[in-house]
Symmetry: C2
Amino acid sequence: MLYVIGLGLGNEKDITIRGLEAVKRCEKVYMEAYTSLLSFGLSGLSTLEAMYGKAITVADREMVEEKADEMLAEASSCDVAFLVVGDPFGATTHTDLVVRAKKMGIEVKVVHNASVMNAVGVCGLQLYRFGETVSIPFFTETWRPDSFYEKIQRNRNMGLHTLCLLDIRVKEPTLESLCRGKKQYEPPRYMSINTAIDQLVEIEERKESSAYNKDTICVGLARLGSEDQKVVAGPMGQLRNVDFGEPLHCLVITGETHPIEEEMLDFYKLQSQGPFEDGRNAS
Amino acid sequence: MLYVIGLGLGNEKDITIRGLEAVKRCEKVYMEAYTSLLSFGLSGLSTLEAMYGKAITVADREMVEEKADEMLAEASSCDVAFLVVGDPFGATTHTDLVVRAKKMGIEVKVVHNASVMNAVGVCGLQLYRFGETVSIPFFTETWRPDSFYEKIQRNRNMGLHTLCLLDIRVKEPTLESLCRGKKQYEPPRYMSINTAIDQLVEIEERKESSAYNKDTICVGLARLGSEDQKVVAGPMGQLRNVDFGEPLHCLVITGETHPIEEEMLDFYKLQSQGPFEDGRNAS
């Protein structure tokens, strides 16, 4: 049996009772490293191991993709847990793992949990008023893609909000190592709300199609679901200057807002409008 | 302090450790009745009370809306838990409660959990490829609204999937009781996938705008997140004849599907194509 278990968004206490019972039943426990090391850190890993009463093998994306067969072979003879930050179906990689398991005739049980896709509702914007979700990748010198621009524009034309997921670069091989054939990795990078806004503004200046502008109300959410989450609402141009602190960040670009949504956003609004606003007023 | 705690989608074991600890700290515990009595039933309520070690006051929508001030007055002097099936921000009513609390200066803590909005990913359709969510209300003799039709069409034109939430009628006053001024209630009604499809087909026949047809691939999901959930994928016209069993039901109308999505949907596909298909093959 393969258990795919969502850990939720905050710390070790965000697992469900059902999830915890399943982990304790399993003989082998894997955890995806893509976002989990960020959420839990190395010290968090030992907290989890103590809580579960067993060792955890951290599986990076390469391992999940390359060594899935090994993991699945185990799951065909004993109970294996695969732990995922958020909900199991936030990422295509996990769907792929489940497909492989099912093809091998392995029974799969999913334990759901909160993910960014629903927890973003905490800011007061109603989930059923969101359009298509977009991902914003890091620009490079030569690669400055803008396919998300059109999606944001479509959503806003329909009055819908847009959740922007911001790039995570973990275990990217260095250019040098690719040439040498021996893998070395860049340090991990997580896109901040500030960088995302810079990129969004750059694209608007290039396209001039008025998908949004510096006065468009946005909501920045950092460390969503954790004790020290920070949510700030305000014009895009002003959020640019807010220090949201540690990753992970995400950004919502609003469409049309309803009164109940506005009342809730008010609690997260920037108070002062100065250029060095630090958002201290917001929770 | 007001804790708004998501219970997730299945049974009492779907609460998170963080949520359980918070409930145990609280002096008063309320639970919204709108969907919870369906998920837990009256016997489930006593299971929850035993698990939490305290009494639960079931608050129907009227109570939440009318007596919120009373509940909030308590929260200003002690710790109060408000339990919600799924994630706290699935319904506008809960946002409204949080707004009222914050206006009274009461601190609010939210404990997230899985909701239909993300757990629907279990069928293999990628969450970031969903457009606007729609709600399908029960038709009456004289009221047959179709505003959701256009939204489905827009989503499909963009290649996006549509999550259809199906109507729940709980504690609706009878027409007779409204006339007499003494409240009596209709028995609760939950829309089935079959009824939803009948209504969708009726609207398509009226509009003739080809938003979808009987061959459009859909996914029916019943009791999502619970041990006996049932997921069946197939043409809309064939899903019409599948017995999905007890509520709650929801329906996804697919847009364009990617190979990884199709591989996953295959596991949920109808095997036989007969008129009395019961979907026994699907999990």
